[in-house]
Symmetry: C2
Subunit: 110 residues, 2 copies
């Protein structure tokens, strides 16, 4: 991984709570967070993320919002990009927040 | 309090995580949340909320977003309205979330 690059992202100490909440206050981006909760690296293909109903540029936009907020990190390997959750960084910055979000019911129970 | 009314708000089971995150993903509304964290009832006057730089209608808008998301409850007593945090409801619906938010550093440490 040492030869790979990462797309720009905030340092851990610069991750801002309101920016993170704004990033996650969107149903598509919450869906992405739940996908990334397995701590694996994910490709950027909408199909792989269960988002094939969305245009690739729309998915890219949402992924950029998450990365710029500090929620995810994107590794660039040649022409491929791999996205994963910044769990350690988020847990360090906002203890308990990620666990509470991932444990929460995602939609109202009816 | 039995003669007082409450403005419309979602039932606890209908509070939606993404809607709550969207509501709190705004600096003014996060400021309001921190004000309400004392669990007291607050008037709607911008001055009382440390928001006198904002127009009253702007503050009212933000308060409505919080109430409709299920973050706050508004008691109507005659011509007065009193806002407070739905801590018990939020804790029941999303265990640990409110504590994590209130314990978090509100702005990047620099």
């Amino acid at each position: 991984m040492s030869d790979d690059e990462r797309l720009p992202q905030p340092a851990t100490a610069d991750i801002d709570l309101v920016t993170v909440l704004h990033a996650l206050g969107d149903p598509v981006r919450m869906t992405l967070l739940l996908s990334y909760a397995d701590d694996a690296e994910h490709s950027c293909a909408p199909r792989d993320l269960g988002l094939d109903h969305l245009h690739k540029s729309t998915v890219s936009h949402h992924m950029r919002v998450l990365r710029e907020a500090g929620v995810t990190t994107t590794r660039v390997a040649g022409r491929n990009r791999f996205v994963s959750l910044r769990r350690t960084d988020l847990d360090a910055r906002f203890p308990g927040l990620l666990d509470a979000l991932l444990d929460a019911p995602a939609a109202p129970s009816r």
